[in-house]
């Protein structure tokens, strides 16, 4: 077991009891904490009660993650969304700004028992009495309104043998947060990273001004940071502290998921011309590759499957993805690609095309990416996936497999 404690960038939440066939979502750690806090606390409560509850919720969550509680039992997520097992997570929960700011301040703080490395698995109680097992939410509010501060409340419910602990602020092995605040006048590789991330994010948020990537935190960088902070609803101060850094990483990572969907080979031939029917488990072809690409792209807008590996092999995971798509669209979930399934796939894919490839165009123009010469001899660079030029169609023309038109 990993002895080094850390704050993860993201967390996988199963939207139901562990064995239920519910979907699992991946969200940023800070957004998860904001959600569970707002799902269970009234924002008008005393700040001391809010602090105590939030710290306890963070501790519980970090315990689940760092002990790999569910992974050790064979599940592929960190926590569930139900209070019987973990903490209440509501996908559409309204976020309250004061709780959000508190979480920004506290998200790397937890409690643990003295002498132990792991965060405390802080339990909660629904009872309203002040004396009960676990932290009572209404009880904590009572104590706070009578003058207790957050530490009094925590020791009241969890005992005197707990201590407060600020987690080493490493997000995960891919992104190490800076130890000091980055602000006007700061220099170094971290500043460079901030500027680079801001410029990429600015491609989809036009109100963020672009900055020169010099590694010096100048006035334009302050301005850009302020615009970014305003967009993601965190404190607008132009300073990159841990909350701003975390948001930058998460927003940037999410944007990259779109660019990852860019086909590495020349983009696909038109599916509207021939829909390969009866693709099913065991197939291995270019069409399966296109199918996997479409499913991944659709999931980017609807999060119903894990990203598939684009290997052109119709294996178990691809079949499962097709079944999930069919279930979602209320067609018979056989895992076989019928005419109707293809219609729906292409129809929905059509709907996201513009947005998907607008992003591609933005990012690829930025990175001077060149799409290789198309198999149809079109121009070398295009911001669209290369569309099939089409064959003229008139009365009497018939399709053939392979794309050529047959004249009667």
């Amino acid at each position: 077991m990993n002895e080094i404690t850390y704050i993860p960038t993201s967390i996988r939440v199963h939207l139901g009891p562990p064995d239920s066939p519910a979907k699992t979502v991946t969200i940023s750690f800070v957004d998860y904490i904001k959600n569970i806090a707002c799902s269970s606390l009234h924002p008008t409560w005393c700040e001391a009660a809010l602090r105590a509850n939030i710290i306890a919720q963070i501790s519980f969550t970090l315990n689940r993650i760092q002990t790999q509680y569910y992974k050790n039992r064979g599940y592929d997520f960190h926590v569930t969304s139900v209070p019987e097992f973990d903490q209440t997570y509501q996908p559409m929960q309204t976020i309250f700004q004061n709780i959000s700011l508190l979480v920004d301040e506290l998200f790397n703080t937890c409690i643990r028992c003295k002498g132990f490395m792991q965060p405390l698995l802080a339990r909660f109680s629904d009872k309203t009495e002040i004396n009960c097992n676990g932290l009572s939410r209404p009880g904590s509010q009572s104590l706070a309104s009578n003058g207790s501060d957050y530490w009094d409340i925590l020791t009241h419910y969890f005992g005197d043998h707990i201590e407060l602990f600020n987690e080493t602020h490493t997000l995960d092995v891919h992104s190490f947060a800076p130890n000091t605040l980055l602000q006007e006048g700061s220099t170094g590789t971290n500043v460079f990273a901030v500027q680079s991330m801001l410029n990429q994010i600015a491609l989809v948020y036009p109100c963020i001004p672009s900055v020169q990537e010099t590694g010096l935190f100048d006035e334009t960088t302050v301005n850009a940071v302020q615009h970014f902070q305003e967009i993601v609803h965190i404190m607008v101060d132009g300073i990159v502290g841990k909350a701003t850094w975390h948001q930058l990483i998460c927003v940037h990572l999410n944007l990259n998921r779109i660019t990852e969907l860019a086909p590495k080979k020349p983009p696909f031939i038109p599916l509207s011309l021939h829909k390969p029917l009866a693709l099913s488990l065991g197939a291995k072809s270019q069409e399966v590759y296109h199918l996997q690409h479409i499913l991944n792209s659709l999931s980017l807008f609807d999060d119903f499957i894990e990203p598939l590996v684009l290997d052109g092999v119709f294996g178990d995971r691809t079949e499962r993805a097709v079944i999930l798509f069919q279930e979602k669209n209320e067609i018979s979930a056989t895992g076989i690609l019928t005419h109707e399934t293809w219609d729906r796939l292409l129809d929905q894919y059509d709907g996201i095309q513009d947005r998907l490839y607008h992003c591609h165009a933005l990012f690829f123009k930025q990175n001077a990416y060149e799409i290789p010469r198309s198999q149809f001899g079109r121009s070398k660079f295009t911001t669209q996936t290369m569309q099939y030029p089409g064959t003229p169609l008139y009365l009497g023309v018939r399709d053939t497999k392979g794309g050529g038109a047959l004249w009667t």
Partner: protein, 130 residues
């Protein structure tokens, strides 16, 4: 203690949370079986956000011990854009002096469909039972 709170709606699409600008955001209040009252119609800016909207809340007493009558008001929000499925969210809670931020993730429509043919993505926020 005032008796208003504010609401900001942020409209995005996809897991990358790309902003949706020029989405129409309508805020209503429903009172039981009465007809809903239209309170505001606004459009999202280039960041996908509406301007903060001031909404009424009941008079509140701060820091009450197990208060069954914690003061919040519930509103309903509709979000529409020609290129996306409509969304409807009920029971958006607004507390006195607190800014509520409601994020909505819209699913794009295919070119052949209009809003009439797409099921509305309706959600109801469960109420706190405290």
């Amino acid at each position: 203690m005032s008796s208003t709170g504010t609401l900001v709606v942020r409209v995005v699409t996809s897991l990358a949370q790309l902003p949706v600008s020029d989405a129409t955001v309508t805020v209503l209040m429903r009172n039981g079986s009465e007809a809903p009252r239209l309170l505001s119609i606004s459009k999202t800016d280039s960041n996908g956000k509406t301007a903060p909207l001031v909404l009424k809340t009941p008079d509140t007493h701060n820091c009450l011990v197990p208060a069954k009558h914690v003061a919040y008001a519930l509103y309903e929000v509709w979000i529409e854009h020609p290129n996306f499925c409509m969304a409807n969210i009920r029971n958006v809670p607004i507390y006195s002096d607190i800014e509520s931020i409601q994020e909505v993730n819209l699913r794009p429509l295919s070119r052949s469909k209009t809003n009439d043919y797409c099921a509305v993505n309706a959600k109801e926020i469960p109420l706190l039972d405290l």
